[in-house]
């Protein structure tokens, strides 16, 4: 880690380390906002702002990747909280729901399973994505999600059971 690379307000974080995981962080942000490009860009930008200003301070208690993913997760939660009232109003007005994520990608070999994953309850989907797609352990994924490892394991097992049943039916 070059000295000049280290963030002033976050001595354990370097710009180059963030650059190396930028793609993964952006992918995580995309899945936090139903794959809306501009929202995901905004989430990542906000995460960098939090790190640059030191409001999100990394002390090396977890891996940097886990930490940055957790920052994105918290920012997206805050965003949804702010939008909750607006969304409820829109739903009352009978507006069309957003495009199905599974419909946004071209169909292929594994798309039934991909669609099944997207249809899982939010926490089950998150832990499956973090473990299988972001190469995290259940413990790391639980930190990102803000739940205990035990709770994370429960979500993970339930998700796998659901997906197993879905595969057996297919």
């Amino acid at each position: 880690m070059r000295d000049s690379d280290v963030l002033d307000n976050n001595p354990h974080v370097s710009r180059s380390a963030l650059e190396a995981m930028h793609g993964q962080v952006f992918g995580w942000a995309l899945s936090r906002c139903d794959f809306e490009q501009t929202v995901a860009e905004d989430l990542v930008q906000q995460a960098y702002v939090e790190l640059l200003t030191g409001r999100a301070r990394f002390d090396g208690e977890s891996s940097l990747k886990t930490f940055v993913f957790a920052v994105v997760q918290n920012l997206s939660r805050n965003r949804y909280r702010r939008m909750a009232t607006r969304l409820r109003l829109l739903q009352k007005a009978g507006s069309e729901p957003g495009a199905d994520v599974a419909d946004m990608v071209e169909l292929g070999e594994h798309d039934e399973l991909w669609k099944a994953v997207q249809e899982l309850p939010a926490r089950q989907r998150d832990i499956i994505e973090l473990v299988f797609c972001r190469d995290m352990t259940i413990q790391e994924a639980s930190i990102v999600m803000g739940v205990t490892t035990g709770t994370g394991r429960v979500h993970y097992d339930r998700a796998k059971k659901t997906l197993k049943r879905r595969l057996a039916n297919d």
Binding site: H22, Q46, Y48, H110, D111, V117, K164
Partner: protein, 121 residues
């Protein structure tokens, strides 16, 4: 890795790769935007601070302009105070005038006539 694990791994990698394909913005671009957002945020804070300071200054000037200057301070006159059973608080622009009669307003204390070893209770 079990069979279901492998299928999940492949499906998610595949789906995620398709969903993210060509969408990842340039790191430098996002980084520069984050830095400029911090600069803008600081400017906003400074501007709001400046406005607040100016408003405070205006308020101080305004109140000092309209403060009564011909205020006459009054003090308790011991002779007047001793010769009367009533007292009026000295005039003060910040305090409402308070007037009370020491015999009329102070509640009568209940006296006990019971005694214990020669002392009234």
């Amino acid at each position: 890795m079990t069979d279901i694990d492998k299928q999940l791994h492949d499906a998610l990698r595949n789906g995620q790769a398709k969903a993210e394909a060509g969408r990842i913005p340039d790191f430098d671009m996002v980084w520069v935007r984050a830095e400029s957002e911090i600069v803008q945020r600081r400017r906003r804070i400074r501007a709001v601070g400046g406005i607040a300071a100016a408003a405070a200054l205006v308020a101080v000037i305004f109140t000092s302009q309209f403060r009564p200057t011909d205020q006459e301070w009054e003090f308790v006159d011991p002779d007047e105070f001793a010769s009367s059973t009533s007292w009026v608080a000295p005039s003060d622009v910040l305090l409402p005038k308070h007037r009370f009669d020491i015999y009329g307003d102070i509640p009568v204390l209940i006296e006990s006539t019971d005694e214990d070893r020669g002392t009234l209770l």
